[in-house]
Each structure stands twice: as structure tokens, then as C-alpha cells.
Symmetry: C2
């Protein structure tokens, strides 16, 4: 185990260890936020027939120079009874099935009446205005690929393809455990040396926002027995354990020791990242553990940049948030650059990145107006106003 | 009623009509995604005491030049029993309460042992390394403002402030109704002129993603009675009705007529937006209706750019998505510019906007890889590669 690991290497270890969970069938209304465990094959052409893209007249392009007889009307849902023969057309509505024989739909605005039941084309040119059967997707072809993280727009594709019970990966169950004699639940007024547990509910909300089920395990005091019992019980029915506190270098931070005793292999205990240096990651069979710093800013940040990639991987999704690059609104400097820094920023009305005032890793209020986290790589000491910087939305 | 309204004016009408719903108390675990209905006042200082930001020795700056006696140890959760007097210090852990008398914490790395229970400071300069009581927030001051859309990071602030039952606005209940004789549910294989209902489940997923409860009302056929019955029953227990189909200009699109009959005032029936021109918006007392085009791309897009602002406003949040501006990867042109266009784009590895191939408003597959919607304002015919364009994440 390396004592202080680069952020990139630590992230590679996390992602490399992730095991994909079993698949399961869900309903369409449960599918958003899940990841497809198999290619979805369409059982039909899309569109399923030649479909009018306009309200107009379905006709033959060769007839556009002359007078055309309107032989009927087709609305959406009607099956056309006749074929369009020479000199004929039918009034047709958007979405309706184009009758055989017709090769274009002319817009109403491009026609004029020319006697009873007759029209003339008055436009100079016209598009085809037909969505042809199968032009979006052929029956039997892949509508959505395995590994797709399903968002609302994908639900429409599943529905169109006739996939009402998509096969998706199970999502990890995540236990959240807080440690520390000084920690009290938020309903209690802090006295003396108490600190309210803000990590617990924050991490539970982050777990839920990542689409996973959280299992809140409360607070374990700073005794080896109490913490060992809590760790053991929290990992019985969960896939991932997030422990906060007890991981920094003080004499009484014994969480790494307990995790090893509990059978976890630890891959790192310190990462060159700010905030969040004393982050640890371990594995016991297919159960994973993160030890997160007790400060809520650190645990929030490490969840976003290290835990979320693990959870997504386990749910089948290769999480690659796009590089969102924006100009920074001010000159920005730091004194030490040994670690990659992730700090809260907002986006101004003109699209510039505005670093937020930030006292340190207990200063959760800095995140009130945060739109994202700006990454400042190790080795970089300063940005000049207007430099493009990478931001991860949170 | 204006027949074709500018997008900006239509959006102003939607937002101007929105009524804020009643407030209610929720638990911390229910609070993410809700909007605060009152300022949250902290019942404690944050931090609640002078807190060590380091593992080190709590001491007096005036003593740093000499030999210092270590009189004890304070870990997180301990109440210091002694005051730091001249020439004295105490070993202290991160997060522990700094004893009275001490005015700085020196890092272990900046000290050396100097005989039993004595140390010497070896660093040249040192920061204070104390987070002072109340430096982040004072007891009695506003921890979070009314109107804040609660995200996981805000949950930590609520917890720290002792607010375990935040007062938030109720979220609108949203009915989703599909119309059209040709529409069949996704479980059924389309025959003849059938089209599968992809709008219904897509809109339900969008409603859920916006944090609201959806009420799926199925499919109403193209008869006035059936549609009127469906509209009446859908608006009995819901705040917003989304009807798809039956709003474009074909002879058989009678939804606007039925909504007026049902007592809704319609503010517009056409908007200068692409896709989604035949969008209507109406109100009857505190119930709102959107008529959305039957094509799933149009209904998806209009939900994102017009319905979501209404739902957020009703839940108390002034929705102002930031202007995300990125360079476009290619030259991009269009022939007509009478409407603002919103089209699907992805973001490349180097942060450029890549317009996605897009056959038209039934082409839901164009959205498979979409990261967002690029806005091209009315009057703009082309972008040059590298031009900054506005993107709304979806």
C-alpha cells in the first residue's frame, strides 16, 4: 500500500476494482437512472409506416404541375383505403399513414382550391415531408445499447421499441456510518464539544441522488469494539460502506486498523487531493469501503469525485462526466500545488467560473451557491482571468 | 390570444402565471429536491467552539521561541480540563476543542521532542490553525434562505443548523394524458396505423426527474366525449395537466377546443420555437394545462424549456439555469430562422459542442447521446466553428 497516492492512480484503483452487480428486470416507470444490462432490440420499424410529417396533401410528385383531385382524408390512426393514382391526392394530417402510391406530402399553404374537390400546387419546390418506415430504426436492430444510463429521453426509446421490462443492473446498497465520540445527531443541540452529524444526512442524500439505496447506520463512538461491531453489521447486507471520521493521522483515528481487522484489504489511505487527503479505499470480496474525512466538505467532495464513479461502475455505467470548460472570472492563485484541488464555484450570468469564498474543509456554507467543483491539477499554482478551467457539476 | 407568440413572451406568461403551492414540513431524508419555504436560522454557532484544524500542539504564540511542556492530550470530543498557561501546551487532534489560553495549533511536523514531555517549535512561521467559534455562521443568523432548492450539500447545512424538519413548498402533482386513436401502449405490438405511446412514460420520467409526482392518465381516443371526460377527471386531483397530441393544425386536433369548453383560459396556442410550435398553455383557477405536440422529441423539449420552469416556480424555486457556453465543433447552418431552435448536442472530450444527427421531431434516437439542448435564437442562421453557443443540460 502506497502511503500517499496520486488522485488519478487512486481513481483507477477504485474503478478497476468495481464489480458489476447482477441484472434484474424493472418496469418503465422504475427504469430512469438505471443502466441497461443488455442491448435492447426493437421489435418494430420506427416509424412503423410511412408517416406524414405535415398537415397537407399526399400526392405524386409527377402530378404537381396540374390540377389534382382530392379523393378523401386520412387522419392519424386511419388506414388509407385507396392507392393514390395519377392526378389524385388525399388530404392528410401530421402523423397519419401515407397512402400507397404517394411519394410526397405538400403543405396546405402551398396549394389553392381549384374547383370542387380539386387543388393546385402553388409552391416552387417541396420537400418529401414523409418520415419513411424504418428510417429512424429497423426492426431487429439495436434501439439502445447495453451500458446506457437511462434518462427520460431513453424511456421513450424503450417504449417505442416495445421494451416494457428492461433488464438493468442492480444498484449498490450503500451503508453510511459516522464515527466519533463528539458527534451528535442533528436533532440534539450541541453542548461542550459536540458537533452535529451533518455528514450522515448529506451522504444519504448524495447516495439517493446517485440513484442508490442508502442504509443509515448512525454514529459509532471512538471505541474499537463499538466501531468493529458497527462495521461488521453495516457490511452484512450492503455492497458499499462509507465511514466518515477516524481516518486522519491523529493517535485516535483507528478506522483503518479496524477495517483491516475486519478483513478488508486497503488499497490506499491517503490521496493527493484537496480536500480529502485522508481518504481510504478497501475491499473484502465484493464489498467495498471508503473511509472519508469527518469534515462535511471533504466527504461531500470525495463522494462526488471518487465514490460516485464506483457506484456507477457497480451499476454498469462507465461514468465519464464530460469536460466542461469555462473561462474563469478572476486571477486565481494558490501557495501549494502538491495536490489536485477541487473547490466550489458558481457560473455567472455571462458563463464565467466564479470561485466561491471558502474557509476550509468544515465550511459547508461555501457550497450553498455552488454549481460545480473546479479542478486545479497538481503542479498548477495559478489561473489568469479568462483561462479555461474544468468544472464538474454537483 | 396571440396566434404565434415569441418564445420569450410565452415563457414569461408561463412563469408569470405560476402560483406557489402551500408549504409543508418534511424530514431531512425527504428534503433533497425540495425548496425552502422559510429562512432557516441556525440555533448554534458554526463551528460551535474553537476547533483545531490540525493534529498538533495547542499553545501560545509567545512561547514558540522556547521549550514547551506538554501537559496532556485532547482528542475530538474531549472537554479540555486545563487552561494553557505560559510555557505549556497540549497535544490536540483535528476537530478537537482548543483549550482556553491557546492562540494557535502548531503541526507535529514543525516540532521536535526536547526531553520527557517537552517539545520545541522548529518551523519558521505557522498559521493559527484554529477554526474559531462562529466563523462560518453565527447563532441566530440565516443558514439557508427561503427559496433555496435543496441539494445534498444543503442537507448538511440544515443538519448543522439543527433544522431536522425543514419547511418546504409542496410540489405540483402532474397528470400526463396522451390523446389519439392511433396510440397504443408500449406493451402492445403496433399494427396497421398504430404508434406506440412513448410520450407517456417519457413525460412521467421527466416529471419524476423534476422531483414531482406524476399521475399517468393513459390514452384518450379522438372523440370529444372521451377527451373531455379524461381532461375533467385528470384535473380533479392534480395541479398541472400535460396533454400530448391533438394540438397541431389538422382538422381533427380538437384539444384546444375541449380545454376551452372545460373552462381553461388559453394564453397561447402556438409558440415560435422549434420543435414544439403547436404548444398551448392555459389556466383554470390554480390548475394549469400544457398541450404538447404528439411527437416525443417535441414534448421532451417543451417539457425541459417551458414545463419545468412552471413546475419549479410552483414548488417555490426561481428556475434560472446558468448560461453554459461552449465552442461549437463545426460550422452549423439552417435555412429558416423564424423560431428559436433547441436541438440535441453532445459535449466532446475537448469540451466542444457537437450537434447530433437529427431527422425531425419524431426522431427520439437523436437524443440517445444528448448531453443538452443547444439554443439557436430566432434570427440567427449560422454558427461558425468555435463560436460560443448556449447549451441547456438535459
Amino acid at each position: 500500500m502506497i502511503s500517499m497516492m496520486s488522485f488519478d492512480e487512486a481513481l483507477r484503483l477504485v474503478e478497476g476494482n468495481a464489480v458489476r452487480l447482477q441484472d434484474e428486470k424493472v418496469t418503465l416507470s422504475e427504469a430512469a437512472g438505471r443502466v441497461l444490462a443488455e442491448d435492447v432490440i426493437s421489435d418494430t420499424d420506427m416509424p412503423p409506416f410511412n408517416k406524414s410529417a405535415m398537415d397537407g396533401f399526399a400526392c405524386r410528385r409527377v402530378d404537381l404541375g396540374g390540377r389534382i383531385r382530392v379523393t378523401g382524408t386520412i387522419k392519424a390512426g386511419d388506414m388509407p383505403q385507396d392507392r393514390i393514382g395519377p392526378g389524385m391526392c388525399m388530404r392528410i394530417m401530421t402523423g397519419a399513414r401515407v397512402p400507397d402510391g404517394a411519394d410526397c406530402v405538400i403543405m396546405v399553404e402551398h396549394t389553392r382550391n381549384d374547383g370542387e374537390d380539386h387543388i393546385r400546387f402553388t409552391g416552387g419546390k417541396t420537400a418529401v415531408n414523409i418520415a419513411f418506415r424504418g428510417e429512424d430504426l429497423r426492426e431487429g436492430s439495436v434501439a439502445l445499447e447495453k451500458g446506457t444510463l437511462l434518462r427520460p429521453q431513453h424511456i421513450a426509446i424503450l417504449a417505442s421499441a416495445g421494451c416494457t421490462r428492461p433488464d438493468v443492473y442492480r444498484q449498490p446498497r450503500v451503508a453510511v456510518l459516522t464515527t466519533g465520540d463528539e458527534i451528535v445527531e442533528p436533532g440534539r443541540k450541541p453542548e461542550g464539544t459536540h458537533i452535529r452529524n451533518s455528514n450522515g444526512s448529506q451522504l444519504m442524500a448524495q447516495v439517493a441522488a446517485a440513484g442508490c439505496a442508502g442504509d443509515y447506520r448512525g454514529i459509532a463512538g471512538d471505541s474499537i469494539d463499538e466501531t468493529m461491531t458497527a462495521v461488521t453489521s453495516a457490511t452484512e447486507a450492503n455492497d458499499v460502506l462509507l465511514v466518515t471520521g477516524g481516518v486522519s493521522m491523529g493517535d485516535f483515528d483507528f478506522v483503518p486498523h479496524i477495517l483491516k481487522e475486519a478483513g478488508f484489504e486497503l488499497f490506499f489511505e491517503k490521496v493527493a487531493v484537496k480536500p480529502g487527503r485522508p481518504t481510504l479505499f478497501g475491499r473484502r470480496n465484493n464489498v467495498f469501503v471508503f473511509g472519508l474525512p469527518g469534515n462535511p466538505v471533504s466527504s461531500f467532495t470525495i463522494f462526488e469525485i471518487m465514490v460516485k464513479p464506483l457506484l456507477y461502475r457497480m451499476s454498469g455505467h462507465e461514468y465519464r462526466p464530460p469536460a466542461l470548460r469555462f473561462p474563469i472570472a478572476i486571477d486565481y492563485n494558490r501557495k501549494k500545488a502538491d495536490r489536485v484541488a477541487w473547490s466550489p464555484v458558481s457560473i455567472s450570468d455571462i458563463g464565467e467560473v466564479v470561485p466561491l469564498e471558502y474557509h476550509g474543509s468544515a465550511h459547508i456554507h461555501a457550497f450553498t451557491d455552488a454549481w460545480g467543483l473546479m479542478a486545479m491539477p497538481a503542479g498548477v499554482f495559478s489561473y489568469k482571468k479568462g483561462d479555461l478551467v474544468d468544472v464538474r457539476q454537483v
